[in-house]
Subunit: 257 residues, 2 copies
């Protein structure tokens, strides 16, 4: 440890390691997630050329901080990232969790400064996509432009889902919805939809869902007692997916209006 990083030059610092995180978009296992559109291989290569792949972030390390100049958006390659902002009165609000194949940082575009901070929940590798290059490339590649419009639009609709969740749903419903969200995002990456390890703490979960840690804990206990989940610290096993969906919100039979 204690490498005198400053003395070896910037490019060497970020490029020294030659491990497998130096893949390119063309052969990245996740490219169908973060680039779902049909770019032809020449276009992928052009995109590939602007992307920086730095050293993995250690747990707790920041990817960027609220307020700093916005220069790039980021794609998660491995690990998990949480985004959060600090309210005027000093409390933290978690605004999102990001898993491999997902893109974050787009909130920084509007003011040219990041509107939230992002830190690694566990060791994480990310691809940095310089935004100025991306913009330029987008004017030349309409499909890429469209893709980014769509990504941002997706972020909006997801935020709106969270708004609805916070505004209308009980603690149990919120937790169920989060577990289902993580489950389906796992499935998208061909991982188990029913068994996974939560990268975030109960505190972060509560913070994200507008609940206290104690409530989160109690809900997990209750769902375990109901044999819907098996919870062992951060290890989660979904025992009854249908029941979980039921709780999440789709109470199906309802209403008269």
């Amino acid at each position: 440890m204690n490498i005198p990083a400053k003395t070896v030059g910037e490019s060497a610092v970020t490029r020294k390691c030659t491990h497998d995180y130096r893949v390119s978009c063309g052969n990245c296992r996740l490219n169908t997630l973060c680039l779902p559109l049909a770019l032809d291989s020449a276009d992928v290569e052009r995109l590939d050329n602007i992307i920086q792949r730095g050293k993995p972030l250690q747990k707790g390390e920041h990817l960027y901080q609220e307020g700093v100049a916005f220069t790039a958006v980021y794609a998660v390659r491995s690990g998990a990232i949480k985004a959060y902002r600090v309210t005027d009165d000093g409390r933290e609000q978690v605004t999102g969790f990001y898993f491999p194949g997902e893109i974050l940082g787009m909130d920084g575009i509007s003011k040219n400064a990041h509107a939230c901070s992002a830190r690694a929940l566990e060791t994480a590798a990310v691809c940095e996509i310089p935004f100025s290059h991306l913009q330029e490339l987008s004017t030349q590649m309409p499909d890429l432009q469209r893709h980014f419009f769509q990504l941002m639009s997706r972020e909006i609709t997801e935020d709106q889902q969270l708004i609805t969740l916070l505004s209308k749903n009980t603690a149990e419903e919120r937790i169920a919805a989060l577990m289902l969200s993580i489950s389906s995002r796992n499935a998208r990456r061909k991982l188990s939809a029913t068994q996974f390890r939560l990268p975030m703490s109960r505190i972060d979960i509560g913070n994200y869902l507008g609940l206290t840690v104690e409530t989160v804990s109690r809900v997990f206990s209750r769902l375990q007692k109901l044999e819907i989940l098996e919870v062992s610290n951060k290890e989660i096993k979904i025992l009854d997916l249908d029941a979980l969906k039921e709780i999440a919100n789709v109470h199906v039979q309802e209403e008269d209006e």
Copy 2:
């Protein structure tokens, strides 16, 4: 009245009326709001040419409905629009209020279908901006592309502010924040920042802020008793702006961490 619209041809239908809502972007009083960037006059004209200006919406009329094909985004020119989605169990969630100079509909891009519905809270004029044209124009006008990236990014950060509000703040704080938001949006349009008429019902306010009507009503009463607001049905007068800001969240002195 009773114009046989179908018989006169499409362009005639949307262009017949020659009232003052047929302004162009170049002379629109709001263009510094919805087009804050420095497009030169030739560019403004090109943008102007793709924008449709239809007949004003009557109160309660829909601009678009959740699920229908996404074809355009909309700029409000007068009146007010509310956006809302219907949850799986049939309840409504208001996701935003839109005032003159503001743009809505961007949530529809990701899935090519509107993710929420939008209806007029009062008589409202809107400009329709066909998205396919906008995309095309964006590839030719980098400034316009950037502007739309920024608009979408702004929508994201605003949604995140709402998330924070819902997740962390009391009823009083939420109402105060909404009043301040409306106040500053009014000011942006050179209207009074301290006196205005709410276009939405208490129900909508409560729904938007994750509160019941009764709570909204009680908070208004309380703020009135404290001589911070003067509330007369939908007419609001802010008597003590600083106190309102204080309540909204900036409790200023706080915390130790």
